[in-house]
């Protein structure tokens, strides 16, 4: 079972944890991204995420399906936020339940790594002296 959300509302890890709960699960791994107060030693004021929403949801679904197969996961929940986020807020949560714990870590890491490569979501960092689209340039 897969739960994908792309939303402007605040994310809550409990929602993801409860979705992936299962009597067959021996372990659940959760990754929670948070907005850091700095990047490359520069102070970050806030972030803004924008997404090509229908395709982003489709790509998130694909990642979850791949992870289900590859790691024999029981349930996967991927939530991503869009809009303006302050320091300490949560842009992404990934929760995976599996029968054994090793696979839970592997699947969770696979999902966040792949999400960062393929899902059409863009992050802009705001500094004192300007703003920049993250990772746009080499």
């Amino acid at each position: 079972m897969i739960d994908i959300q792309l939303t402007a509302a605040e994310l809550n890890s409990k929602t993801c944890e409860e979705f992936v709960a299962s009597n067959q699960a021996g372990g659940t791994a959760i990754f929670i991204g948070t907005v850091r107060n700095q990047t490359k030693n520069k102070s970050v004021l806030k972030l803004e995420f924008e997404a090509y929403i229908p395709m982003a949801k489709k790509e998130m679904q694909k990642i979850a399906e791949q992870a289900m197969q590859k790691f024999d996961a029981i349930k996967i929940s991927i939530h991503h936020r869009v809009g303006v986020l302050q320091i300490g807020e949560i842009p992404v949560i990934i929760a995976v339940s599996t029968p054994h714990r090793k696979a839970a870590f592997e699947a969770c890491e696979f999902c966040i790594d792949t999400l960062k490569e393929t899902v059409p979501i863009w992050k802009k960092e705001f500094f004192d002296d300007g703003e920049v689209w993250v990772a746009a340039h080499p």
Binding site: M55, I112, K116, W133, H137
Partner: protein, 80 residues
């Protein structure tokens, strides 16, 4: 061929619009579009990557376009 282009993130900044109608005459594939687009907007060449989507899926350079296609420019993603 005249194509409807949709742009997000830094691609929107480069086009100075989120939707434009783009005319290109050499060829009809995504690869051809990329060449024509980069020629007209050289800033695209400086990006770490440049991908295109049609029908909410990534499409490769050899994908053949038709005038009805809406092509979405996907600059380097940075979610998570």
């Amino acid at each position: 061929m005249k194509i409807k282009l949709v742009a997000f993130g830094i691609a929107r900044d480069i086009l100075k619009d989120s939707n434009i109608s783009f005319l290109f005459t050499d060829g009809k594939t995504i690869g051809d579009l990329k060449k024509a687009l980069t020629k007209q907007y050289p800033e695209f060449e400086k990006l770490a990557s440049l991908r295109f989507a049609v029908g909410e899926d990534y499409q490769e350079d050899d994908f053949e376009l038709s005038e009805e296609n809406e092509v979405v420019i996907i600059p380097p993603v940075s979610g998570g």
